[in-house]
């Protein structure tokens, strides 16, 4: 059957969406159409399904939210299996999908679906295929090391995949290329190396006694014993509390970017963006590119959070940026229909009487990122809470080794910054490992490259006042090798690599 609602984007100024062949599956008793390559959640959203599940206690409707398999909002019963994260489940011919209401029971008859166990012993395991991990992988591989890269998404690239804007920096560091184009360049580069094994749709889920790192892919179970690990696990979005903040139509900026820039589906018609950091400013611009009307950007601080040029881009399209404003509540029947914002005083308390109503069906939260350092913390690395870096990060040396031997941190998980610093950190970690795992001139050259990169990163790149806050944060968690060894013996980690 055809649906009256079609949210797919057929024309976009920047991105060409390549849709796969048409596929049919069953949603609540009716046959629906999707394109191969779409996730079940995206396919349903594209035809106007806003509610994916109802919450367990309060029976509240939930719609697309994180879109990367991390929340529970898209839980559906697929082929009788409840708690299925449909936002990361690719559509397949003949799937039977039902919305989940609260708790459900799994089938008691085993289905024909076996998990294959795979053992891997690479020199270096890279957790996370974002800019940092991909840069590290290509350098390690070009120096002859065996590399395994694991990424949760169906395609590597991390946040690069969602970006339509051209990146800053210099040409050597992909400056001037659009985010998704940089991802493509890396993917091409990685394909040239036979000593890189790339595992997509695979989650590294833990470090175990004896230095075993375990990862789960689609019916594949990887048991990995690496000599070194670069955990470049990126960042996750922060959320905020306001009445009805769980209503379908309230999404993380990242979730909306996935829907519109990776899958080519409009996340809504009229949007309000909460937060004016770079993410908020960029997503507002991307919404306009996707044909969504952006009513306003609200920012609780007195100043715009992101870079001026990003602000200027949306501002000159007539999108107001309401500083000293916050979201008061949203309302709607099964989906956001209205958002109310309010001005705040110097102490961020709402000033009554200053409320403004917006008729929107989409409220995007872009209120900050926090490093995703679960892997490092679970591995036993000594961590520190650093507000300037967005949250909990591992203590590290300047070449980015943590208190767990041969466990490195790089990119946003080392403290939220931006893509170019992530690339540079991936490079530093890679050269540090090469200098340890090789010998002679190769090791010597790696050390030189590492020093060169460190110098550029700390003395040139991070000398920008725009990066000074993050720089301060990073300085506060960077220790000397002696200090690292001291911490290592004081807080012995349960595992070590190498």
């Amino acid at each position: 059957m055809t649906s009256p609602i079609d949210r797919r984007i057929y024309e976009h100024p920047i991105i060409t969406f390549h849709r796969g062949r048409k596929i049919k599956f069953v949603f609540e008793g009716r046959e629906v159409e999707a394109y191969e390559g779409e996730s079940v959640a995206v396919a349903l959203y594209a035809i106007g399904i806003d509610v994916f599940s109802w919450s367990r206690k309060l029976n509240r409707p939930r719609g697309p939210f994180c879109m990367i398999g991390k929340c529970s909002s898209c839980f559906m019963i697929v082929n009788n299996i409840p708690n299925t994260r449909t936002c990361i489940l690719p559509v397949q011919e003949g799937l039977v999908v039902e919305r989940q209401k609260g708790l459900a029971t799994p089938p008691s008859k085993p289905l024909e679906e076996e998990v294959e166990e795979v053992e891997l012993n690479p020199d270096v395991l890279i957790v996370g295929g974002g800019p940092s991990g991909l840069e590290a992988a290509s350098i390690l591989a070009s120096n002859g090391l065996e590399v395994v890269v694991v990424d949760e998404h169906f395609k590597p690239g991390g946040q690069l995949l969602k970006q339509t804007h051209k990146f800053f920096g210099n040409v050597e560091l992909f400056g001037g290329q659009r985010g998704f184009q940089i991802a493509e360049l890396y993917i091409k580069k990685l394909a040239e190396y036979s000593n890189i094994k790339l595992l997509t749709q695979t989650s590294v889920y833990g470090v175990f006694r004896g230095g075993i790192v375990a990862a789960a892919g689609r019916n594949k179970h990887y048991i990995i014993k690496p000599r070194a690990v670069i955990a470049a696990t990126g960042a996750q979005e922060r959320l905020i509390e306001f009445p009805n903040n769980d209503l379908p139509g309230v999404m993380g900026a990242g979730g909306a970017q996935t829907i519109m820039n990776e899958f080519g589906v409009k996340p809504g018609e009229k949007a309000l963006v909460v937060g004016s950091g770079n993410v908020g400013l960029i997503v507002a611009y991307q919404l306009v590119q996707a044909g969504v009307e952006v009513k306003a950007i609200v920012e609780i601080m007195k100043e715009i959070g992101g870079w001026f040029v990003h602000a200027a881009k949306v501002r000159r399209l007539g999108i107001p940026i309401l500083t000293s404003h916050t979201i008061k509540y949203v309302e709607g029947n099964g989906r956001v229909e209205k958002a109310v914002v309010v001005e705040v005083d110097d102490k961020f308390n709402p000033i009554s009487g200053t409320e403004r109503e917006f008729n929107v069906d989409l409220v995007l939260l872009a209120v900050g990122l926090e490093p995703d350092t679960r892997f490092h913390a679970q591995a036993g690395a000594v961590m520190k809470y650093v507000p300037e870096l967005g949250g909990l990060v591992p203590i590290r040396t300047r070449d980015l080794e943590t208190t767990v031997s041969n466990l490195y941190v790089a990119g946003d998980s080392s403290g939220v910054e931006e893509a170019t610093t992530a690339i540079l950190e991936g490079r530093i970690a890679a050269y540090s490992i090469i200098s340890k795992f090789t010998s002679g001139s190769r090791a010597q050259q790696a050390l030189e490259e590492m020093e060169k990169t460190l110098k550029f990163l700390w003395e040139e790149y991070r000398s920008s006042p725009l990066l000074s806050r993050a720089r301060r944060g990073k300085e506060s968690v960077t220790v000397s090798r002696e200090e690292l060894l001291e911490l290592r013996s004081k807080y012995p980690p349960p595992v070590s690599f190498g």
Partner: protein, 93 residues
């Protein structure tokens, strides 16, 4: 609209702002206890959405240090939920 009742802190377990404020009012002065009592971070998202919001609220209400609260949380595998079927064969080594 009862604002605190419809402000959701933990989506997985439907923990509301009201639940948290009431628990703090009842005398729970330890974040780990609050978390365990209300099952914040016990859902499928493993605390990705709720932990920091709840910690921030708790810190604000009790005057505790946010960094300390967050630093006390322990991370355990699996870092993402893994179906039992991955462990029903093999694993002998």
């Amino acid at each position: 609209m009862d604002r605190e009742k419809v402000t959701i802190i933990c989506r997985c377990n439907d923990v509301t702002l009201e639940d948290i404020l009431k628990a703090i009012e009842s005398g729970i002065d330890d974040f780990e206890l609050l978390r365990k009592k209300l099952k914040i971070g016990f859902g499928p998202c493993q605390g990705r959405g709720c932990l920091v919001i709840a910690a921030r609220l708790f810190a604000r209400k009790t005057g505790r240090n946010l960094g300390e609260i967050i630093s006390n949380y322990t991370f355990r595998p699996p870092l993402v939920p893994i179906p039992v079927k991955y462990f029903t064969r093999g694993g002998e080594k």
